[in-house]
């Protein structure tokens, strides 16, 4: 609530400054109509005008009552100066009257904007209005168009006070509405978080999608087109299910259980990886234990890393088969991916290793695992992947 009032007061005092300063400009313009003001009168009014403008400017900065008082007192002083400082016989001339009207109705009434917010300030508003009106009345009473000046003073103050009061009412209204939007948005954020969580939980799905996309990034060269089309169709269907809010379970590969299970067996899932690479023309031979239980996030990372390694074999090794040996002890599950392909010089590869580091090592480190790479030109490549149990 405190901040709402602060925002409201800031809005009002800025408006008061603008209204006051433009009103003062209007007063100066009217005063400078040729012949209307004598030079001595202009000279006398100048200090009061400067004081008023100063007050209006400072009012826009802090909105304190002392600046309100300064504006009103300087204005009142100017009205009285115009009305009484020179001996006259037949009241004020038209220019002087109009200047008083402009002063009272625009330059001074601007303070009403900051006086509509509390009861005490309302009282000050009535006092300032009454003082202004009394001075206008006293100064112009003997002039021909006194009634016009009085009316414009009243209308000006009413218009400004009403505008200020209305703005003061509008601010809490809009703040309440914004708070309602905030509540609606909080619900949206929760929904968004759940959505993101759901998509991130579907990591196995994303891993197969990633593998397929990588194939497509190489235009699908080197893979049986019908097998690739089938894989793409499977992946697209699963992605659609994911989009429609389901947690899709792949049917064809029959293995990726995307339910947030706490642990899954490794053996079942390995078969699907084998099938996937079989379609792409890489025969994978499994050796060793298939009955290892792994937490699902570890399993995800392990399978992704394995898939990436096999993908590398398929693309770069120049052979059509790879061996994967799974071993485990009390704490660690280890996969050794071996091929008899061309191999490469570990020191000479930069871009490839970047991809390797990003996709394999980063994923394994995520779950506390590690990867090691052994290779030399002409004698194949071996990758050892390790994850904790």
């Amino acid at each position: 609530m405190q901040r709402i009032h602060k925002e409201r007061d800031r809005l009002l005092r800025r408006a008061a400054r603008l209204a006051g300063l433009s009103g003062s400009i209007a007063v100066v313009v009217v005063m400078l109509v040729p012949g209307g003001f004598s030079l001595t009168l202009l000279g006398r009014c100048l200090p009061a005008l400067v004081l008023m403008v100063t007050g209006q400017y400072l009012l826009g900065r802090s909105g304190r009552m002392r600046w309100v008082a300064l504006v009103v007192l300087a204005g009142v002083g100017m009205i009285l100066l115009i009305g009484f400082s020179e001996p006259r016989t037949s009241g004020l001339n038209l220019v002087e009257e109009t200047a008083i009207g402009a002063l009272a109705a625009t330059a001074m009434s601007s303070v009403a904007l900051v006086l509509v917010v509390t009861v005490r300030r309302m009282i000050a508003l009535f006092a300032a209005f009454a003082a202004t009106l009394a001075c206008v009345f006293a100064s112009t009473i003997s002039s021909p168009a006194a009634i016009v000046t009085l009316t414009i003073t009243i209308c000006g103050w009413f218009a400004v006070a009403l505008a200020g009061w209305w703005v003061a009412q509008s601010v809490p209204r809009v703040m309440q509405r914004i708070a309602a939007i905030g509540r609606a948005h909080l619900a949206e954020r929760h929904a968004s978080e759940l959505e993101a969580q759901r998509r991130q939980d579907a990591r196995l799905l994303h891993d197969t999608v990633l593998a397929t996309l990588t194939l497509l990034a190489h235009s699908g060269v080197g893979v049986n087109p019908s097998a690739l089309r089938q894989q793409s169709g499977d992946d697209a269907r699963l992605l659609r299910q994911l989009r429609l809010g389901g947690l899709p379970t792949p049917r064809r590969s029959g293995v990726y259980t995307l339910e947030p299970a706490t642990a899954s067996t490794l053996g079942n899932t390995l078969e699907s990886v084998k099938q996937r690479f079989g379609r792409m023309g890489l025969d994978v031979d499994w050796h060793g234990s298939g009955q290892v239980l792994l937490p699902s996030d570890v399993l995800d990372s392990f399978l992704l890393a394995l898939g990436e390694c096999l993908e590398n074999v398929r693309r770069h090794a120049g052979v059509a088969r790879a061996d994967v040996t799974i071993t485990d002890d009390d704490t660690t599950v280890r996969a050794m991916v071996t091929d008899a392909g061309v191999g490469f010089d570990l020191l000479g590869v930069s871009a490839e290793r970047l991809g390797f580091a990003e996709s394999v090592v980063a994923r394994l480190r995520d779950v506390g695992g590690n990867a090691r790479l052994f290779s030399s030109p002409g004698s194949g490549t071996t990758v050892v992947l390790e994850v904790p149990k």
């Binding site: 809009v174 190489h218 994911l242």
Partner: protein, 430 residues
């Protein structure tokens, strides 16, 4: 001979440091502009706000300003009445008042109906009617001989414009007001006056015509800005309730988009719409998608609420730099988070200067001596501002800082530095 040489050396020494400082400054400004330009809100956020916004109280404000302008119109109408017998022929001015009243009522009704934007043609029609009013009234009140008659309905066109401030852009209304004011001024200056002093009330009339719409536009503008800023704050305040690390709304949408693009691409391949082997364009798309997906799946989670709040805020985004490698912001409790967000907010929003900026640096966690159960974790939050002088800092800001933790502040070169000592429950104890 040595003089110039020395001077040359010194110049050479000075120049790089001066220019590099300037470069740095320029880079900062550029960076900020970039961030401002590339800022976008999550689609969910846009939809939520759009569904609820409807001008955000602009309608209510518009009614009030119209009433306020009505008082000015009332004065002018009263003046029209008292000078009725002075008109050589009151008919044009009477017609002008009738037309103005009809137009204003129509404009008010449509403005309230529309609640959003007034179509161009309707605005043009309203302005055309205003123009006719001005011409009729000026024609009726010009060259009236010995008795001065002042334009009334022509000045009250300002009240018509006020009715439109909430449904048209500010500059449209200001432009119209300035044009009407100029026409009135030309009319006043070209009039033949037996008494030159009658120019003064004419000038006052012009002020009454132009000032209210200008003030109306100014008020509506700052009202909108205030509402917009408040909305921005409320929208990012919802991050306060996030877990320690969360996927931001933007990232979540991005992931959904990548998934959708991948789905489309894969589906195209499966259905044979894209022929294998793929063309260069499609395979590049696949490569890009794979890279984006990989990045999203690898990073994606290690962001704190504070990071999201800054990234999703139109006001904080360009001006706040966050350094929180350990994600310590995520450990703060909801009250501390709210206070920290408010602190940054108040520091940035209280200054009207555009170049105010805040740098936040959290951590590292202070070593604890001896292991005890239920021992609190302590870490410093260092908050450095530029362009925010200490005396302009709101008391509410200090209040908010105290909620985050005890602090020490110092001021240097007009920039404020606050070090907050933060203590939180050790998550390991929970």
């Amino acid at each position: 001979m040595t003089g110039p040489g020395l001077a040359g050396v010194r110049m050479d020494e000075l120049r790089p440091s001066g220019s590099s400082r300037r470069d740095l400054r320029q880079k900062e400004v550029q960076d900020r502009q970039d961030r401002r330009r590339t800022f976008r809100r999550p689609v969910r956020t846009l939809e939520t706000t759009r569904a609820n916004q409807s001008g955000l109280g602009g309608r209510h404000l518009g009614i009030g300003l119209s009433f306020s302008g009505g008082f000015i119109a009332l004065f002018l109408f009263w003046r029209f009445m008292i000078q009725w017998y002075d008109y050589p022929l009151p008919l044009p001015s009477l017609a002008a008042w009738a037309l103005l009243t009809a137009t204003t009522v129509l404009a008010l009704v449509t403005a309230q109906r529309l609640s959003a934007r007034m179509p161009d043609w309707l605005f043009a029609a309203a302005l055309a009617c205003g123009g006719v009013v001005v011409v009729l009234d000026l024609a009726g009140s010009r060259d009236t001989g010995d008795v001065a008659v002042y334009p009334t309905a022509a000045a009250a066109v300002g009240s018509l414009l006020i009715a439109l401030v909430t449904v048209r852009r500010g500059r449209d209304v200001i432009g119209a007001a300035v044009v009407f004011g100029a026409v009135l001024l030309v009319g006043a200056l070209t009039e033949v006056r037996p008494d030159p002093f009658t120019l003064a009330p004419d000038l006052m009339t012009i002020v009454l015509a132009v000032l209210p719409p200008l003030l109306g536009v100014a008020i509506v503008r700052s009202f909108r800005r205030m509402a917009q800023r408040e909305l921005d704050l409320v929208l990012v305040q919802s991050t306060v309730s996030q877990p320690q690390f969360a996927v931001g709304m933007l990232a979540s949408e991005e992931l959904a988009r990548i998934d959708l693009d991948a789905e489309t691409l894969l589906d195209d391949v499966a259905q044979g719409r894209s022929v294998l082997p793929l063309g260069a364009e499609k395979s590049t798309t696949a490569a890009t998608l794979a890279t984006q997906l990989r990045l999203h799946l690898i990073q994606g989670r290690r962001e704190t609420w504070l990071h999201h709040a800054i990234a999703e805020s139109e006001f904080l985004g360009p001006s706040v730099n966050l350094h929180d490698p350990a994600g310590l912001a995520g450990l703060l409790d909801p009250a501390q988070r709210d206070a920290l967000l408010r602190t940054i907010w108040l520091l940035i929003s209280d200054t009207s200067r555009a170049e105010a900026s805040v740098s936040l640096s959290l951590g590292p966690i202070r070593p604890t001596h001896g292991v005890r159960a239920r021992q609190k974790l302590r870490f410093p939050i260092e908050l450095t501002t530029t362009g925010v002088p200490r005396r302009r800092v709101d008391p509410e800001t200090w209040q908010a800082i105290r909620v985050v933790g005890p602090h020490i502040d110092s001021s240097q070169d007009g920039s404020l530095r606050v070090e907050i000592e933060c203590s939180i429950d050790n998550p390991a104890d929970a």
